[in-house]
């Protein structure tokens, strides 16, 4: 469903993504992990057509995002890490806007929009301007707008940022429901717990390149540390922090 082939993205001399190849099958939840600045958001932006690769290909749903972006956009839903949306529209109006842009049936989309607002517990804010929403409320509205047009593929960048525990649980359950419905999810996140409990396949990116890929079991098997949990595997691959140094620094020891 998603195929990234030898993807490279350079900004001048700086390489943000280096020769990245990933395949995600239909109905799979793919967890994309990596330290800050590793190239996760750049990869996602290339997949969604917001950035152009320096070289390589990104095929989404069988369509090349560079050659046929409209076909890709018809079948994907994108949830960015920073949910900038039209501040002068109300939540309901934004959902109407999305329904219209994706040519959804007016009556059923209205009903579904109301259900989604209620599901994410922002129905009381439906008639308020988005400018008065908190970060988490905007994030929930963007999620609702994506589910509204029912895409085949969800591309999600940091889904849990700004969400309260209850909303985070709703989102987690929602991801599982989407998987059951045969949808494909590409999730970039720092939440190892989410990845461990939801994802079929995990990819770890560091310094612009993919350093590990496989199921949780495969990662465990390949782990030199022999660790069982993802945090240890992740840290052994990307480098553990110098905790002793931190503790010494805080306690004032040299």
């Amino acid at each position: 469903m998603i195929e990234l082939k030898n993807l490279v993205k350079k900004y001048g001399k700086f390489t943000a993504v280096e020769n990245l190849s990933i395949t995600v099958k239909k109905g799979e939840i793919f967890g994309f992990l990596g330290p800050n600045g590793a190239g996760k958001t750049t990869t996602i932006k290339i997949m969604t057509g917001l950035l152009k690769p320096t070289s390589g290909e990104a095929l989404v749903g069988g369509f090349d995002i560079q050659k046929d972006p409209v076909s890709v956009k018809k079948i994907i839903g994108f949830i960015p890490d920073r949910p900038y949306i039209y501040e002068k529209l109300t939540g309901k109006e934004f959902l109407d806007f999305i329904a219209g842009v994706f040519k959804l049936d007016k009556t059923s989309s209205k009903r579904k929009a109301a259900e989604l607002l209620a599901l994410f517990e922002i129905d009381k804010w439906g008639d308020e301007l988005i400018e008065s929403y908190s970060h988490g409320m905007k994030q929930k509205l963007v999620m609702a707008s994506n589910i509204l047009h029912d895409p085949e593929i969800y591309i999600i960048d940091e889904p849990m940022v700004g969400l309260d525990p209850k909303s985070a649980k709703i989102v987690r359950e929602m991801f599982l429901d989407l998987k059951k419905a045969g949808k494909t999810l590409f999730i970039s996140t720092h939440s190892l717990e989410i990845v461990e409990s939801l994802c079929d396949t995990i990819g770890i990116i560091q310094n612009a390149g993919l350093i590990a890929k496989g199921s949780m079991e495969e990662l465990r098997a390949s782990s030199k540390s022999g660790s069982r949990n993802l945090e240890d595997i992740f840290l052994s691959l990307t480098g553990a922090p110098d905790l002793a140094g931190v503790l010494n620094y805080i306690s004032g020891e040299k």
Binding site: K45, T48, G49, L50, L51, K52, P69, V70, K73, K74, I76, F78, P80, R82, Y84, I85, Y86, E87, K88, L89, T90, E93, D96, F97, G100, V101, F102, K103, K106, D127, E128, L129, S132
Partner: protein
């Protein structure tokens, strides 16, 4: 406190330095182009004002009084403009700025924090007026034959004047913010400031300064100036500043120093006043604004209209973009002042045109005058349309702001998006330009054929200026602009105006000869084959220019959007 203040000021200076170096060679080219344009503008202002002042000085007896009054009016206008812009910028800098929370949490001296922002407000609100001082003082210095010392001393008066207004603006803001929530106040003052500027524009236009060139009108104007009490208000700092500047430039040094003393004292008082509100009063106001960010939205008349019912024939994606654009425009009160500008520009235009009276022209010159008049009117109308398009059409892409990713993720091509933007901007612009052209035709009483040609030109202007605005808006987007005025005055906005004026000039140049042939048809019964051939070629070239002015920017804009990375 000084160390804290310097540390905070260093943040600003480093931000400016970093953004300058980050821009690279492309930024340097842009900077050079803008500097050149700025220089040409200031030089043009100097030459233009110099001529006006020289003309005034030639009026026996009252010349000197008139230019002194004019300077007082200039400073009065500056006073109002600066006061309002200071308040608007203060609200953004003190209350809506993202980094204020961080700085308030730091153990820095609060007064130092307040003063670091005050310097930002003063520079951001006053730099334009400071630079405008160059051509104004230089023109006065040239006319009054003042030396360099007088010219430089004038800037001391201007500096104190700017400091007074800035201190008062910040003090007023802090006091108001103690009472009102931030978002409402800014919207209100953006609206009010442009309303005041528009009122001043209309007011100045209605003074009919061209009557000064007519000796019969001098007495009326003199009486009028005498009756105009406001610029002579002796208690306003604008008056002191104008007196000090005029004194330095005309050699009345005692008077100049007296008013400079007034300015210095007032600057001291207003600055102290501002410091007195920089403590608890400011902090309580900041808390107040932070608590008032979550205001409930009250539905208004425009929210109850079922737009989809009226726009049912449009393609769904286009229809939704249109509805979104309309709702955002209505609700964003920072856009309303733009409407005020349109009203003001139109009133000025119509007032100018209505004063042209062909019946008073000498009979022998009628053909030449008609020739020239057609070009002047169409040029003027074109310029008005281009100015409006720069505000609305050019900014229509950038106004999507950080939400532009939503458009990029919608299943529509950049071409479809540009088409939507074209049509939603084209119809209002066409409506406006045809009104301008028709009103011109009625006021100037031009013949029906010229009227029709003017209307057709109005159509071409609307099509091409819209296409150029949309295309160039896509090539030079400014998604991080705080308001639409910033978009129109950006690098791309200025380039748009230059291209738009160039397009109008070329279009007029190409139609000049065919129109001349048309006006001289009564004199030379047959124009001759060669002349007709040239006229046909000119019309053909005109049509080619129109096609290019429409297609090129739209195609380049589409390509730019396809290449655009977010």
């Amino acid at each position: 406190m000084t160390a804290d203040l310097l540390a905070l000021l260093r943040i600003t200076s480093r931000t400016v330095k970093n953004s300058f170096f980050k821009a690279g060679s492309r930024g340097a080219i842009r900077g050079a182009v803008l500097a050149l344009i700025g220089f040409l503008f200031l030089f043009g202002a100097y030459r233009g004002l110099g001529r006006v002042l020289a003309a005034f000085m030639n009026i026996p007896g009252v010349g000197s009084v008139l230019i002194e009054k004019l300077l007082a009016m200039v400073f009065l206008t500056f006073l109002f403009m600066l006061l309002f812009s200071n308040i608007i910028i203060s609200i953004a800098t003190y209350y809506l700025s993202d980094d204020m929370s961080l700085q308030l949490s730091l153990p820095v001296n609060r007064r130092a924090l307040f003063l670091s922002r005050f310097s930002k407000v003063t520079i951001n609100s006053s730099w334009m007026v400071f630079f405008m001082g160059l051509p104004i003082f230089a023109a006065y210095a040239a006319v009054l034959k003042s030396g360099l010392a007088g010219f430089l001393a004038s800037f001391a008066a201007l500096g104190l004047f700017l400091l007074i207004v800035s201190s008062l603006g910040v003090t007023l803001t802090v006091l108001m913010m103690r009472i009102f929530p931030a978002k409402r106040i800014r919207d209100f003052f953006v609206f009010l400031s442009v309303a005041v500027v528009c009122a001043l524009l209309v007011f100045i236009r209605l003074l009919q300064p061209e009557k000064l060139t007519n000796p019969n009108e001098q007495m009326i104007f003199k009486d009028f100036l005498a009756s105009l009490q406001a610029p002579s208000a002796p208690y306003l700092p604008s008056f002191w500043a104008s007196q000090a500047v005029f004194g330095f430039l005309s050699g009345a040094y005692f008077n100049a120093l007296k008013y400079l003393g007034f300015l210095a004292a007032a600057a001291g008082v207003s600055f102290t006043l501002m410091l007195s509100v920089s403590g608890d009063i400011f902090l309580r106001g900041w808390w107040n604004s932070a608590e008032n960010q979550l205001m409930r939205y009250r539905k208004k008349f425009f929210d109850r209209i079922d737009y989809r019912k009226y726009l049912g024939r449009l393609a769904p994606a286009v229809r939704e973009m249109v509805i979104k654009d309309v709702l955002v425009f209505i609700r964003d009160s920072t856009q309303w002042p733009q409407l005020m500008i349109i009203v003001a520009i139109n009133i000025i235009y119509v007032a100018n045109i209505s004063m042209i009276d062909l019946s008073k022209l000498p009979a022998g010159y009628s053909i030449i005058i008609k020739d020239v008049l057609f070009l002047v009117i169409m040029g003027f109308a074109g310029f008005v349309i281009a100015s409006i398009a720069a505000r609305f059409v050019f900014s229509s892409i950038s106004i999507e702001g950080k939400s532009f990713w939503v458009v990029r993720m919608a299943p529509m091509t950049p071409g479809e998006f540009l088409k939507e933007k074209f049509w939603i901007n084209f119809w209002p612009l066409l409506f406006l330009s045809e009104i301008l052209v028709i009103l011109s035709a009625i006021f100037v009483k031009i013949d029906i054929i010229t009227g029709i040609i003017s209307a057709v030109m109005g159509l071409f202007f609307s099509v091409c200026l819209t296409a150029m605005g949309i295309g160039m808006g896509a090539i030079f987007p400014k998604f991080d602009a705080a308001n639409t005025a910033e978009i129109a005055t950006s690098y791309g906005g200025i380039l748009y105006m230059i291209f738009a004026i160039g397009y109008i000039g070329v279009s007029e140049f190409l139609l000049a000869y065919p129109m001349h042939l048309y006006y001289t048809r009564g004199i030379y019964l047959f124009a001759g084959t060669e002349s007709l051939l040239w006229a046909c070629l000119a019309v053909l070239a005109f049509l080619l220019v129109q096609a290019a002015a429409f297609a090129l920017p739209m195609l380049r804009g589409k390509k730019a959007l396809e290449r655009l990375e977010l």
